[in-house]
């Protein structure tokens, strides 16, 4: 079973040189720490920066330089700042090649729910609806089941949707799965030491198992 940082590490293997990438809050943020050697990508934060760098050294924080999680950051050489309309022009116009974000539920047809639990405080969708509606390539990073042990990979989402038919890939603590066009989670890889049966038991939506399923490699 993968830790959260291992989920991020596995997703980092998906990165391709030349990609602009938007990372959501939580596990997705960690992806930036595991960029494979020789791969050059640039991170977009939807509040208005391309070329986001690491956190600043203590004492060098700038209140005017934050990421979408409101954390103080730095800018790499070649960075650029822009307004929110331009930022979402990049996103909506599919200039960002990969979006990684968390989810509460994903359905077998690629629907995603990650912004609202009825009866609970609603914080808002932020940029998530724009991101999922537009990205050509969306990877969801999440635990395979919720705290009650219930599957988060479902036939249909039960929570209010963030986007429809948009998720292409899901990386969980148990597996890497592809959402196939005809519907269903195609099992691509197992987490080290996790059996296909365990994944099947933790997946409510249609799981597609074809041939031998390899273990992830790090």
């Amino acid at each position: 079973m993968l830790s959260k940082t291992q989920i991020a590490q596995r997703i980092a293997q998906e990165l391709q040189s030349g990609w602009y990438v938007n990372l959501g809050i939580g596990i997705p943020t960690l992806v930036a720490n595991y960029i494979p050697e020789g791969i050059e990508v640039e991170f977009q934060s939807e509040n208005g920066i391309l070329g986001m760098g690491p956190f600043p050294f203590e004492g060098e924080e700038d209140a005017d330089l934050i990421n979408a999680g409101k954390q103080t950051i730095t800018a790499l050489p070649g960075a650029v700042y822009f307004d929110s309309a331009t930022s979402f022009a990049m996103i909506r116009g599919q200039h960002v090649q990969l979006t990684v974000l968390g989810a509460m539920e994903v359905s077998e047809n690629g629907d995603i729910a990650n912004w609202k639990i009825p009866g609970k405080m609603v914080k808002g969708m932020g940029g998530a609806m724009d991101l999922v509606a537009s990205a050509e390539n969306i990877i969801v990073a999440m635990m395979h089941t919720n705290k009650k042990g219930e599957s988060k990979l479902l036939k249909n989402c039960s929570l209010p949707l963030t986007g429809v038919g948009c998720v292409k890939k899901v990386v969980t603590n148990l597996a890497v799965l592809e959402v196939v066009p005809e519907g269903g989670f195609k099992l691509l890889e197992r987490a080290p030491g996790v059996s296909v049966e365990e994944i099947q038991n933790a997946t409510e939506g249609k799981l597609i198992i074809e041939g031998e399923i390899p273990e992830m490699r790090f």
């Binding site: 208005g48 924080e61 209140a63 409101k70």
Partner: protein
């Protein structure tokens, strides 16, 4: 064309109860601190505030929320504010949540004379309820309308007396679009200079969008999430 007003009191003199105000900023970054403090002091109520976020309990728009001056918030994310949560759950506060990109584009559209546009964001979600859906290139989109406001209040890094503005780093965020969309746009700046001192190639918001400008004072520029690494 001189847009300079003496101070924040004069800039905000005709902002009354019941008006709609756009406020720039993302989280606490790039918010018009001076003007928000003045709105608190003025004690006006029933405000409709269009702002990406709602501040925190004791800073930013949280200060207006605490005094129940806001009737309605139009935002994309309002998560860091307990008082907001209380007022929303109790029904004291109306809240209209909008995808962040649609919020930005709707403000720009308001300023640019585009009354409505199609976007894929929110299709198939509750955001699309009651909105026209149309397919383009095989993909469903929803029709979103422009947003404007009686007043837009923005915060810039530098500005000149003609209202030309330059923003710093990610403090730019929603400020430029909101500056376009206010019937009256008020800019508070960290540094006010004479015309001619800003390079005309480097101005982010042309002065034509700004009706009043003043030199702000005592910026706290609070950091919401101080994240650092060790040397």
């Amino acid at each position: 064309m001189n847009k300079v007003v003496k101070n924040v009191e004069e800039a905000c003199k005709d902002i009354t109860s019941g008006v709609t105000i756009m406020l720039g900023g993302f989280g606490l970054c790039g918010i018009p601190e001076n003007s928000i403090a003045e709105l608190v002091k003025k004690n006006i109520t029933d405000l409709t505030c269009i702002s990406n976020n709602a501040g925190v309990d004791d800073f930013g728009l949280g200060l207006l929320l605490k005094k129940h001056q806001i009737k309605k918030m139009i935002s994309s994310y309002v998560g860091e504010n307990d008082e907001f949560e209380r007022q929303m759950l109790s029904g004291e506060l109306e809240v209209d949540l909008i995808p962040q990109g649609s919020l930005a584009e709707r403000c720009r559209a308001g300023g640019a004379g585009i009354p409505a546009f199609f976007t894929p964001a929110g299709f198939g979600t509750e955001v699309a309820e009651g909105k026209e859906v149309r397919e383009f290139n095989g993909k469903p989109h929803i029709l979103e309308s422009a947003l404007t406001a009686d007043f837009a209040i923005v915060k810039a890094w530098k500005g000149d007396t003609a209202g030309n503005l330059i923003f710093k780093a990610t403090a730019k965020n929603f400020n430029p679009m909101m500056a376009m969309a206010g019937k009256i746009t008020i800019a508070e700046v960290e540094e006010l200079v004479e015309v001619g001192e800003l390079d005309p190639n480097q101005i982010h918001t042309p002065g034509i969008f700004v009706q009043r400008i003043f030199q702000g004072v005592d910026y706290e520029k609070r950091i919401e999430q101080r994240t650092v690494r060790v040397k």
